[in-house]
């Protein structure tokens, strides 16, 4: 089958060859079919003619061999692979286009906020950074023009919202960082933008409206006073964050000027203790231990414990607070009394790996849903943990660490029948004329526990207020439910932080509050009293 490349008729021969060669190829189905169709006329009766001769005969071959319909069929068969390939590449490109759309619609917003993105800074050249408001329209941050025409960022509440609203210098923090893009985007009317362009003026940036309540925030700051600590309040059925206060604080307007002092500050004033603080949970962790007991034993009906004020296992002895002997207790009264002995007793009998699963379902060792970067809480117990560590963990000491924010999330899940709503701070973005650009609505995050389990914990937390360590909250104004805690944080057993998580009203929870007061033993300020100030303020409106 050699051929002469220079023969002008070679093109025709090639067509012929194509069909004849089919006989030679050990073939796929496709070729067999072609041969079947073409058989009668393909094979010449006489010996193979010369090249020249074959070329002359081509036309007859073409016509008879391939009547239109089978020809079309054969062509389709022949092109089967090509068709498949085309579809394959088209599908691949559709996936790629879908990914581009997905990136822009879902991922881009958070991606482009990255401080490395130089484009955000350049947006400030064309847009006046928009204001941040609280839920009642009070201004938390805004851009003002000084007499000499320079623009500066002003924070009317001074240091009150320093951590949550953040600052707009030195790398930015808080909402100023998280919503930088929105604040520097203008949705002013087209006409207004044109006017501004013509006048070479900057366009007004959008307004960020938060769920924060300045009254509640002021209450939190006043109640905490000079104590170091953190207060956070969240609506459990929506996830709206109403208050987030961390002390010590700083003036966000002068961050750049005081940068060195702030970064070298011993008390780490720049640290948002709500989301970045890591504390031993103390007795508040008994919520987790009680939940794990319920999961492993089905119910609390068989639980009874006689507390004599301490619990000893091998060489470890754990004391109840003030060595109080609580006597005969159920699980509910152990919880209400915050009886260490009883909970250590429970902890010793827990399945360590299931305990770890439950803790992780409650978001320990997990990334927390949070508008900012929140610290992961820590829970170390696993199947290799010894009894001593297990006992300490069950009552909230040991290596376990939690942020006030995470404590509040656990409170939210209990209050909202097990379902955690995704916490959020910004409810709406408006343009400069109060026209809504975007609304953020409540979204559920995940069910941290079943509603039955939540119901039992709700009952326990309610009895803390009615008959246990939270009786300071027992008032006719609202029905609170809570868990208190005292966490030792050093080898000196007298030094302790005071913790609180709770909500009101018990029947229909409106607000969850979590509080941590550092060194409460010295200041005498207890977390429960701060929580009371917040509940009082919330319900006296």
């Amino acid at each position: 089958m050699k051929r002469n490349g220079k023969n002008p008729d070679d093109f025709h021969i090639e067509i012929l060859d194509f069909n004849q060669d089919r006989d030679v190829y050990d073939g796929s189905l496709e070729e067999n079919i072609i041969n079947q169709v073409e058989e009668p006329s393909v094979i010449p009766a006489k010996p193979r003619p010369s090249r020249r001769r074959r070329a002359e005969n081509l036309e007859d071959f073409q016509e008879e061999k391939l009547p239109p319909s089978p020809k079309e069929k054969a062509r389709r068969k022949r092109n089967r692979q090509l068709t498949a390939l085309t579809y394959g590449f088209v599908a691949l490109f559709i996936c790629m286009m879908a990914y581009l759309v997905y990136y822009n619609q879902v991922r881009a917003r958070s991606f482009i906020r990255d401080p490395h993105n130089a484009r955000l800074d350049s947006m400030a050249e064309h847009v006046v950074r928009g204001p941040v408001l609280d839920q009642n329209g009070h201004v938390l941050a805004e851009t003002q023009t000084s007499d000499d025409g320079t623009m500066y960022r002003s924070y009317p509440y001074g240091s009150l919202f320093a951590h949550v609203v953040g600052y707009d210098s030195k790398g930015k923090a808080g909402l100023e960082s998280a919503f930088n893009f929105e604040l520097l985007t203008s949705h002013a009317s087209f006409f207004e933008q044109i006017q501004n362009d013509l006048k070479s003026q900057k366009n007004p940036g959008d307004t960020v409206i938060t769920s924060l309540d300045s009254d509640l925030q002021e209450t939190a700051a006043a109640a905490l006073g000079s104590s170091k600590g953190a207060v956070v309040a969240i609506e459990p059925d929506t996830g709206k964050i109403l208050s987030m206060y961390s002390n010590p604080t700083f003036d966000p307007a002068t961050v750049a000027a005081n940068w060195d002092a702030l970064t070298n500050d011993e008390d780490s004033a720049l640290l948002n203790r709500v989301t970045q603080g890591a504390y031993a949970p103390g007795s508040t962790f008994k919520i987790v231990t009680a939940l794990e007991y319920l999961r492993e034993n089905g119910s609390d009906s068989n639980y009874a414990y006689d507390c004599n004020g301490s619990f000893t296992y091998s060489d470890t002895t754990i004391h109840c607070y003030n060595n109080t002997a609580h006597g005969m207790e159920t699980l509910e009264s152990s919880f209400a009394n915050s009886c260490n002995a009883s909970f250590v007793n429970i902890g010793l009998h827990l399945n360590a790996s299931k305990y770890r699963d439950s803790a992780q379902e409650l978001l320990f060792n997990r990334k927390l849903p949070c508008p900012f970067n929140a610290k992961k809480s820590r829970f170390d117990v696993d199947k290799n943990t010894g009894p001593g560590e297990l006992m300490m963990t069950a009552m909230g000491q040991g290596n376990t660490q939690i942020s006030p924010y995470h404590l509040a999330l656990i409170g939210c899940a209990v209050a909202n029948d097990g379902l955690l709503m995704k916490p959020y701070l910004v409810t709406e973005i408006q343009n400069d004329r109060q026209k809504t650009v975007k609304k953020y609505s409540p979204k559920s995050y995940r069910e941290l526990m079943s509603s039955d389990e939540a119901a039992v914990l709700q009952r326990y937390m309610r009895s803390v207020v009615t008959s246990g360590t939270g009786q300071a909250l027992n008032t006719s104004m609202y029905t609170a439910a809570c868990k208190t805690g005292t966490a030792e944080y050093s080898s000196d057993k007298t030094k302790s932080h005071s913790l609180f998580v709770g909500y009101a009203n018990a029947e229909h929870p409106d607000i969850v509050v979590a509080v941590v007061v550092e060194n409460a033993d010295q200041s005498g300020v207890s977390a429960v009293s701060i929580a009371k100030s917040l509940f009082d303020a919330y319900y006296s409106k």
Partner: protein, 445 residues
């Protein structure tokens, strides 16, 4: 007023682009040649309109007299290309020609906006490439011995790749080409075309096991040399092109399957052996985490696309100059940033439409050789487009290939324009083929 035009222009550009894209798919539904022709003319008008608006904005942003001259020269070029092609080859595939011009104009606009002097260089190459590409269809149509040059294709391909490996200059850690005077030549861009011809000439007659083996060894040599030169993109393209051509030539699914298996093992090995392969994967996994090193390019690219959003920042309003190699490998991100993702999606569709036209030509051929050539070129084009766009939007790890016809780069530009011209030649040839068959049928009747 200036601001108004600049703001308004981005929406106009998107509308023009959407119409252009719609037409390129709509034309398939028309049977009437008159109507088709009118649609093609409309596409040309849209291209020139798009081109005009973009240059108007570039001029308004920075009023330079050079911009006007340059614009004028480009308009002359586009008109000349349309007139020359359509008078020399009246039966040409107009869709392919129109797409080529549209892609060229998009590239020219963005390159000029980013770096004026690169724009001029690109334009010079374009004129050169047009001159070359105008004679290509004649060669394809008239030179019948193209199928017999298998030995030459193979040897020239391997030798020129070897030459780069031995004597080539290093850029960005990869050996890509030679610098002769002011011009940097990347032989791999042309070897891709030669390779397609090599495989087609090798497989169109004999597809027995022995011949497949020989062809595979030569193909593997191509890929290996490219991998050693660290030209991963070209290596991948040649690999894919070979598998596709082999599959379609033999109809046996085992071959590409075995190829894919071998490729996967090779990729796995390469990942563990070469740090530059790992770097691409690290950057792909999390460009922000590796921002200071590997992830920088991709992160900048994603910043650009994300900040631009659906409608873009407007031409000359973004910061595409912060993207590394924005005029060549990352030009798609620069386009998305300033002209918007809608524009980017249309651009992808135009590329896809080119590919479908290529494959359409391949399907209608009865001659196996030409069928394989059309198929190979189409695969080469679409694979490169996929690697480029997929890489810059972080759909796949980036491999450092150009976006054909749009990216800055003389070798890439000339080889792609030649590729388009070859397909035009094949298109004409296929019409010849059809006419011969038709004529003979009538005669015998």
């Amino acid at each position: 007023m200036t601001n108004l035009i600049i703001h308004f222009s981005k929406y106009v550009i998107i509308v023009l682009m959407i119409f252009y894209t719609l037409y390129s798919f709509l034309v398939f539904t028309y049977d009437d040649e008159e109507r088709q022709a009118s649609l093609y003319r409309k596409q040309n008008v849209l291209t020139l309109l798009f081109h005009f608006i973009c240059f108007l904005v570039i001029y308004l942003e920075e009023p330079k007299i050079e911009t006007i001259y340059f614009y004028g020269a480009q308009v002359v070029f586009f008109l000349a290309a349309i007139i020359l092609y359509t008078t020399l080859y009246p039966r040409i595939a107009r869709v392919i020609l129109n797409h080529m011009l549209m892609l060229l104009s998009i590239g020219l606009v963005m390159i000029t906006r980013l770096r004026f002097e690169q724009g001029i260089r690109q334009f010079v190459f374009m004129v050169l490439a047009l001159a070359v590409s105008l004679i290509v269809p004649v060669i394809v149509r008239k030179v019948r011995s193209l199928a017999e040059l298998r030995l030459i294709y193979g040897i020239v391909g391997v030798v020129s790749l070897l030459a780069v490996l031995v004597a080539g200059g290093i850029s960005n850690g990869a050996k890509l080409g030679f610098t002769i005077g002011p011009v940097n030549i990347q032989p791999s861009e042309f070897v891709k075309l030669l390779f397609v011809f090599f495989v087609a000439s090798s497989l169109y007659k004999k597809r027995d096991f022995r011949n497949v083996c020989i062809t595979t060894i030569v193909a593997a040599a191509h890929v290996l040399i490219l991998v050693i030169s660290r030209d991963l993109g070209a290596a991948l393209i040649i690999f894919v092109v070979y598998l596709v051509m082999l599959y379609c030539a033999t109809g046996k699914f085992v071959y590409p399957l075995a190829g894919l298996a071998a490729g996967s093992i090779a990729a796995f090995g390469a990942y563990h052996l070469f740090s530059h392969v790992q770097a691409r994967v690290i950057a792909w996994k999390d460009p922000i985490a590796s921002y200071d090193e590997q992830g920088y390019q991709v992160a900048q690219s994603l910043f650009a696309i994300g900040t631009g959003g659906w409608f873009g920042m407007g031409l000359c309003q973004g910061m595409p100059e912060t993207i590394p190699v924005a005029t060549s490998d990352f030009i798609f991100s620069a386009l998305c940033e300033e002209m918007g993702i809608f524009f980017g999606l249309c651009l992808i569709l135009i590329c896809l439409s080119c590919y479908m036209m290529f494959l359409n030509v391949a399907m209608k051929f009865r001659s196996v050789f030409y069928k394989l050539v059309a198929l190979g070129l189409g695969t080469c084009y679409i694979a490169q487009t996929f690697l480029n766009i997929g890489g810059v939007i972080k759909f796949i790890p980036s491999t450092g290939v150009t976006l054909p016809l749009v990216s800055y780069g003389g070798s890439s530009l000339i080889s792609t324009m030649v590729m388009f011209a070859i397909v035009q030649g094949l298109y004409l040839l296929r019409e010849d083929e059809e006419r011969i068959i038709e004529k003979k049928r009538q005669k015998s009747r």
